[in-house]
Symmetry: C2
Subunit: 190 residues, 2 copies
């Protein structure tokens, strides 16, 4: 295995470990064991656990298919629904575990690590901006009320989704996810 | 210091540590140091870190003033607003840290510890039931739409609040909290 692919193995294992176990429960040893590489090799590629967590966040964001929110073949609110259905799949299909890595780091690490907090905030900001764009399109078409505050609503939907993944994991049921879709699409965006 | 008060010191320190640092970042040593008691004395009062975390959750729930939701002197939606304003105070006034202990344990621990998951779920269930009762009262008075699904809405509001505390901590601003109040009271419960 060459140097570049060993780095890739470690980065992928770090993402899986952080997402499954959280930041503090994940040791360098867990990452290198999961990657099948010697423990010492971690530091050939990453300066710290924090650095690998920042890369995990960035890799995680790249899996979230934000491009679905801009799909011109679908009406805006259908796109938004498909987006959240896609985001929920990992948690629901794995038996209500994992949740959102950004939300998990936000709950566990943001108070204590400024770089990770800033990365989580940056991810949320970019996501809220994309949701807002969908709401603006829906508003332009008359699909949602012209009076809707698209910036506040986008931020609220993002927060509501993050909390929904937490309550679904505690409840081990789709009830919180169902309540999200029902309230967001039948009430907030009616 | 007698035995009972030493237990109380440890239990209070455990709540503070778990709320400030999270479950995995809190060691028994951190708790006993914060309580000002010898490390070994922890096990005179608690069988495990998990047991002290379960008691911390229960003590935390008792601080949330759920009685405010049943205050007959206030109209139901004003009560609900006052409830969330009260819940936000700790996070906002401390510079956007801490969040909700139940949500934090839900994000960090629920996937890995069945007893803590069940306790978090139980707390959420009781809370959702109380929020629902307020929505039913508001519906009876005609303050919210008769068509509102009070069970789904209560669960959704709880989830949205949990997520709001996470995004506010990442953002270090009141913007997510403001978006919560604006969307919940001007849109969802209009």
């Amino acid at each position: 295995m060459g140097r570049a692919s060993k780095r890739e193995e470690i980065a992928q294992a770090a993402l899986r470990q952080f997402h499954a176990q959280g930041f503090n429960a994940t040791g360098i040893n867990d990452i290198t064991t999961a990657a099948g590489v010697p423990k010492g090799s971690f530091y050939n590629h990453f300066s710290s656990k924090e650095e690998s967590a920042l890369e995990a966040l960035s890799r995680y964001a790249a899996t979230l298919r934000f491009d679905m929110l801009a799909n011109p073949a679908q009406p805006p609110l259908e796109r938004l629904r498909a987006h959240f259905e896609f985001l929920g799949r990992d948690t629901v299909e794995n038996g209500f575990v994992h949740g959102c890595l950004a939300g998990n780091f936000g709950a566990e690490v943001a108070d204590h690590n400024e770089e990770i907090r800033a990365a989580v905030k940056n991810g949320f900001d970019q996501w809220a901006q994309r949701i807002r764009q969908v709401l603006v399109e829906a508003q332009d078409r008359g699909d949602v009320s012209g009076g809707l505050d698209t910036a506040a609503t986008a931020l609220f939907l993002l927060s509501a989704w993050e909390g929904t993944l937490i309550t679904a994991r505690a409840d081990k049921s789709t009830a919180p996810v169902d309540a999200f879709f029902r309230t967001v699409f039948d009430v907030v965006l009616r």
